[in-house]
Symmetry: C2
Subunit: 137 residues, 2 copies
DNA sequence: TATTATTCATACCTGTTTGATATGATATAT
DNA sequence: ATATATCATATCAAACAGGTATGAATAATA
C-alpha cells in the first residue's frame, strides 16, 4: 500500500502542476488546500526538493515550483523518493537493491524469477508521466 | 514491498506444489528446507488453511497439502490472505475497501482515478496462476 | 532596519505493524 | 503410551509510520 507520504507527495505535485509557472506556492497554501498536516508536508517538500522534483524559493513571498516539466514526472519517481523501492522484493530492485537474508543462490531463486517478471511489467505502469495519468475519464 | 509473511507463504505454496500429491508435508520439513522460522511458519500455514489454500492433516505423519490445483493459485490470492489489499490505495480496493480520511469527494478524486487505472493494470499481473509464473527462463 | 513570511534542519514522540517466540492443548499413527 | 504433528492464543522487541516541536536562516517589504 501507498504510504501517506507518497499520497501527499503526489497530491503536492499535482497541485503545483495546476498553478501557473513562476509564481511560487507556499507550504501553507498547499497544506490548507490539500488537507496535509503542515509540518509533515514540510518534510515531504524537502525530500522532493533534494531529489530535484521541485525547486524552493526562500524568504517572504517564497514557496515551491516544479523543477521540471510535469510530462517528465511519474508516480514511480515520486514513490521512489518518499517510499523507496517499487519492486516487491529488494533483490530485484534496481535503485534499492538488497540481498535477501535467507536466500542461498540468487541466480536460481524461483521467487526472485517470478518477481523479476512482475516488476518488469509493473514498472512501466508506474513510470508513465503524470500528465498522461491525470486526466478526465 | 512484499512482507516476509507473503514471501514465506509463496515459498511454502511452491514447495507444496513440487511434492507428490497425497503425502502431507510437515511444517518442520518446510521450515528447514525453506529457511522459515518454525513457529512463524505455523502461523502462516494456519492462515493459508483457514482461507482454503492448503489442507492440513493432524497428528503423527500429518502435515499439509495444497487444497486446490496449483493452476488455480495466484500470487494475488496469497498476498491478499497474508498481507491484505493489493491496491495501492484503500479507496479502490475491491476486497478491502476503505474510505480515505481526508478525501472529500471520492467520485472526483484525481488520485483515486489515477490509482484505479494503476490497479486495473496491476491486478491481472498478480492474478496469473503460479504455474504460469514459476518456470524456467 | 525591524518585521513578517517563509524555507531549512534536526530531533523527537507515539501508536501500529512486523517478524518472531512461548506455552500449552489437541489429535493420530504406531 | 508415546512420539509426532497440528492448533490456538498470547506475548514481545524492533522497526516503521505519521506527525510534532523547536529553532535557525533567508529575503521581501513596511
Amino acid at each position: 500500500m501507498l504510504s501517506k507520504r507518497a499520497k501527499y507527495a503526489i497530491k503536492t505535485i499535482l497541485f503545483l502542476k495546476d498553478r501557473p509557472e513562476g509564481k511560487p506556492i507556499s507550504a501553507k497554501v498547499i497544506s490548507e488546500n490539500e488537507n496535509i498536516p503542515y509540518k509533515f508536508l514540510e518534510n515531504i517538500l524537502r525530500e522532493l526538493r533534494t531529489h530535484r522534483l521541485i525547486k524552493s524559493i526562500r524568504g517572504s513571498e517564497g514557496g515551491y515550483v516544479l523543477a521540471k516539466d510535469p510530462s517528465e514526472i511519474s508516480i514511480a519517481q515520486i514513490m521512489r523518493i518518499v517510499d523507496g523501492p517499487i519492486a516487491l522484493i529488494p533483490c530485484i530492485s534496481e535503485k534499492f537493491y538488497e540481498a535477501c537474508a535467507e536466500c542461498e543462490d540468487e541466480q536460481t531463486c524461483r521467487i526472485r524469477k517470478m518477481f523479476a517478471e512482475v516488476r518488469a511489467e509493473m514498472v512501466p505502469i508506474l513510470e508513465r508521466p503524470i500528465t498522461a495519468m491525470d486526466k478526465e475519464a
